[in-house]
């Protein structure tokens, strides 16, 4: 499964995963990220598969 995280692409050896679990795997708090599946924003209970295009936008900013 390929995941686009800002300008990096991460590869995980899984076929399908719940968005919430994926965020946990990546060490990202669900309160600090948007999960975009095939260009559509989805909730944390969404199932993501290796066929989907997945993008994660971290929402924390500093300053």
């Amino acid at each position: 499964m390929k995941i686009q995280l800002h300008n990096r692409v991460k590869e995980l050896e899984i076929d399908s995963i719940k968005a919430r679990v994926l965020l946990k795997e990546l060490g990202i708090s669900p309160g600090a990220a948007l999960v975009i599946k095939n260009d559509v924003l989805v909730c944390e209970d969404e199932i993501l598969t290796a066929e989907d295009s997945i993008r994660i936008i971290k929402t924390i900013s500093g300053g």
Binding site: G31, D45, G62
Partner: protein, 318 residues
């Protein structure tokens, strides 16, 4: 998960609000909630002219858009800090400019390097304080001055609940009482010449503003300011998000309880404001911190050695 309003598929679940919404219901909810927050704190009066401080980031551009959609008279202000690393300033200005066109609104741009003779990162050489401290001072100065010169009634900033609770946590850890006293969604005008400041997004989490920006297609700068990467505010935000994960609504309660406690706590008296002898802007000193910085810059530019010995003179707030 389904939208509470229309039963379409939800795009966001907000446990703190016990609410899940689809994209179009979310957009109306977000704009309506901003309006209710403005009313709750009596932030704006009808007909007031508002200067929206924009950075090119999601929160400030979203705020500019929401206020415009709510029919508020807005002009935006972008302060170019001269941060060349990762082309941060140029890119964020381009985003703000493009957004001005999209909203058919107007944007005032202040170029710090032109005004002051030195970009914000360059001031590092002459200040003992960190870049962010000088940057904050310069931004606050130009915001107030632009609002005063343009006869605006208030300055609106895009601070969200995560920003507010992160600074609340930081201020509490250090017990900075004067900051705790002044942390509020609306700071009334203070004579002589300190403009009203409002934070209409103070109840939205960062995720909520990002969701609004995504759903309405706002093109914002995603790169962080290079100086923000080690900011303690990010550490505080992570801690607060971890708390929130185990107890929805904790961030909001932390903030609301501060606002309630403010009426009961004994804070030190605030220093009187007067006008700066040089620039006429409000300050607690006789010459304001901004004019002190700009004097140091001129001295360096004129290569007067005296500037070096004054490098470590204290620069107080405002």
């Amino acid at each position: 998960m389904r939208c509470r309003n229309c039963r379409e598929k939800a795009v966001i679940h907000m446990p703190a609000h016990k609410l899940a919404l689809c994209g179009s219901c979310y957009i109306s909810w977000f704009e309506g909630y901003t309006e209710r927050t403005i009313q709750k704190f009596n932030m704006l009066k009808p007909g007031e002219q508002i200067l929206v401080a924009v950075s090119g980031g999601k929160d400030s551009l979203a705020l500019w858009q929401v206020l415009t959609r709510l029919g508020v008279n807005t002009t935006a202000l972008y302060i170019h800090l001269g941060i060349a690393q990762k082309e941060y300033s140029d890119t964020s200005l381009a985003k703000a400019r493009a957004f001005e066109e999209r909203l058919n609104s107007s944007l005032i741009v202040i170029d710090v390097a032109k005004e002051l003779g030195m970009s914000v990162p360059e001031t590092k050489r002459l200040m003992s304080r960190k870049v962010c401290a000088t940057c904050g001072l310069i931004k606050r100065y130009y915001m107030n001055k632009t609002a005063a010169d343009g006869e605006f009634d208030a300055i609106a900033t895009g601070h969200n609940l995560d920003d507010e609770t992160a600074s609340l946590l930081g201020n509490t850890m250090e017990w900075r009482l004067s900051y705790l006293k002044r942390q509020h969604p609306v700071l009334a005008e203070r004579p002589p010449g300190l403009k009203k400041k409002v934070k209409p997004f103070c109840y939205f989490t960062e995720k909520e503003t990002a969701t609004y920006a995504f759903l309405t297609g706002i093109d914002y700068i995603m790169t962080e300011c290079p100086y923000a990467l080690h900011a303690s505010s990010i550490e505080y935000k992570n801690v607060l998000n971890a708390l929130e994960e185990n107890g929805a609504g904790r961030k909001r309660r932390f903030y609301d309880h501060l606002l309630k406690a403010q009426g009961h706590l004994a804070f030190p008296e605030e220093a009187e404001l007067n006008r700066c002898r040089i620039c006429n802007q409000p300050t607690t000193l006789s010459v304001c911190s901004f004019c002190n910085i700009s004097k140091k810059i001129r001295e360096i530019k004129d290569k007067k050695p005296s500037a070096i010995s004054r490098q470590h003179s204290a620069v107080a707030e405002v």
